[in-house]
Symmetry: C2
Subunit: 316 residues, 2 copies
């Protein structure tokens, strides 16, 4: 099922002539990523990442590439898409839409502590502030309308208790009102894999292909669900506090966001669970075989439902 | 005569609230630069340079800042100007136009060899290619019309032989025709100070405040006059060849450029000489006291005039 578009050194060398980033020194495939083909591309100028898009189209891609460029312009350590001589971020290579972005240094924090969580909280708030002036729009194609069509499709494949959880959570989420919550462009996928640290500071945030217009709190909830959870699937107070305080110092959270927090934590876990069920039960052509465990995020959702308040009391 | 606008930590801390690059960690004045005040600015995100412009105005500055942003967008290792929350590169601090740009790593090559010259030749050609799509324009305010007014002003201050050289070279330069030479945005100041190397590769090119629309060959000539000259003020063949070959591999030089090379080398030395005479004899308020020796570049000009062909024979 794995699709990986091969790029030869000769092809890369030729393609680079449309750019002003030097000549090819080294081309090295990256065996990770769920929906794109990635290469580390070293030139006489520096280090870049070459991406061929297996599923996203030339119509969708400008949103993501322009968002990265917009954030980099505001000092967010996101990859900087490189324009070719014609001024375009997007080209075509081997029949696929393709782009080059700068390669960021640093590596993910696999076992983040409160300090890492504070760093990522600050980063997230700054991304939200910087994205305020971003002019393009993208619907959340993994939002409520997708939930409504996807839950009936996947539910028959699940054991009875999980199917029941899916249906009841869908019902709960569809009852929530979001009108009072600040919205904007969100990253949508600030998992530990996608944040690079160098000397305990954030050095990069990557993989913007889940970005969309959404409730900002939803982005925080996605992040907290991945960064601040203990081995027993409950929230770890110290890390949650560090992340939220650092976020709040940059963009103060509102009373409405405080109110909506427990439901947003559940929504974020629900979205991630659904996504992983999708990869597990309906792998599409053009997707890599690296699917992720979906039982862990389900247990987190269950814990959120049981404990109820999402540590609301520790909010600033 | 030295003007250096002081910025307090409190001012910097407050000013940073308009940006999304983290909170202030350290502010450190840089005692160099002829026309701007510069600080190294370290934040919780990373390292930046804060510049206050002492002589350039808010009307002129967008050209330089947008050019840096344009080149960075094309993968040129130029500083990336950081936009504030309103989306603007340019603010005001202590009554002066001010901006923040990324701080590049690396250090200048004080004694460049042929390999360094090849690196800078490639960089220069890529800047010229990348700048082709840059939409803004800036006249060369140190071009022929300035020469015509400045030579009569400075000439009385010089010893007889130097005054004579100044007048005869002006006359020679005004006779040259440039219509057939490719033009575009040039850096205008690719001296060794302004190129940063890391592990023998170009890691940065800085100080774009001489950039303007000019004959591209003039930019190469300015560079060769600084990078490829021996202690006896003559061109060093190995370095000139390395620089021009690397340039030509990216943007092939034309027959007309070959023809114009000796005169452009003289023009570049003449421009630099005039600039340094200006700093020496007419220091302006708002300029730092660091003026540069102007006798070395005069001797280079004299050598060009004596030898005549600018090593034209070694062109590719």
């Amino acid at each position: 099922m794995s699709v990986f578009t091969n790029v030869s050194e000769l092809q890369a060398r030729t393609w680079l002539k449309q750019y002003t980033i030097g000549a090819l020194s080294k081309l090295e495939g990256i065996v990770s990523g769920v929906e794109n083909t990635n290469y580390f591309l070293t030139t006489t100028h520096g280090e870049f990442v070459l991406t061929l898009f297996e599923t996203l189209t030339s119509r969708q891609l400008p949103y993501y590439l322009d968002l990265m460029a917009h954030l980099a312009r505001h000092g967010i350590p996101s990859p900087l898409p490189i324009a070719d001589i014609q001024g375009s971020f997007l080209g075509e290579l081997n029949g696929k839409p393709a782009c080059i972005v700068t390669r960021l240094s640093g590596r993910p924090a696999e076992h983040p502590d409160a300090e890492h969580c504070a760093e990522v909280g600050e980063l997230l708030a700054e991304m939200h502030l910087a994205a305020k002036s971003f002019p393009l729009h993208m619907n959340n194609w993994r939002g409520a309308s997708w939930w409504k069509t996807f839950v009936p499709e996947v539910q028959p494949h699940l054991p009875g208790d999980e199917a029941a959880l899916l249906l009841s959570e869908l019902e709960f989420q569809l009852r929530q009102k979001h009108e009072a919550l600040p919205r904007g462009a969100i990253h949508g996928d600030v998992f530990r894999d996608n944040v690079l640290f160098f000397e305990n500071r954030v050095a990069g945030v990557i993989d913007f292909y889940f970005a969309c217009d959404e409730v900002l709190l939803f982005d925080i909830a996605i992040t907290v669900n991945d960064w601040c959870v203990s081995p027993d699937d409950t929230l770890e107070e110290g890390r949650v506090r560090a992340l939220l305080q650092a976020y709040d110092a940059v963009r103060p959270l509102t009373a409405e966001e405080h109110e909506a927090w427990p439901a947003q934590l559940r929504a974020a876990a629900f979205r991630t669970w659904l996504g992983r069920l999708g990869y597990a039960h309906f792998p599409q052509s053009g997707e890599m075989t690296h699917t992720k465990d979906h039982t862990h995020i389900r247990r987190i959702l269950q814990r959120h439902i049981q404990t109820g308040d999402g540590l609301k009391s520790i909010w600033i």
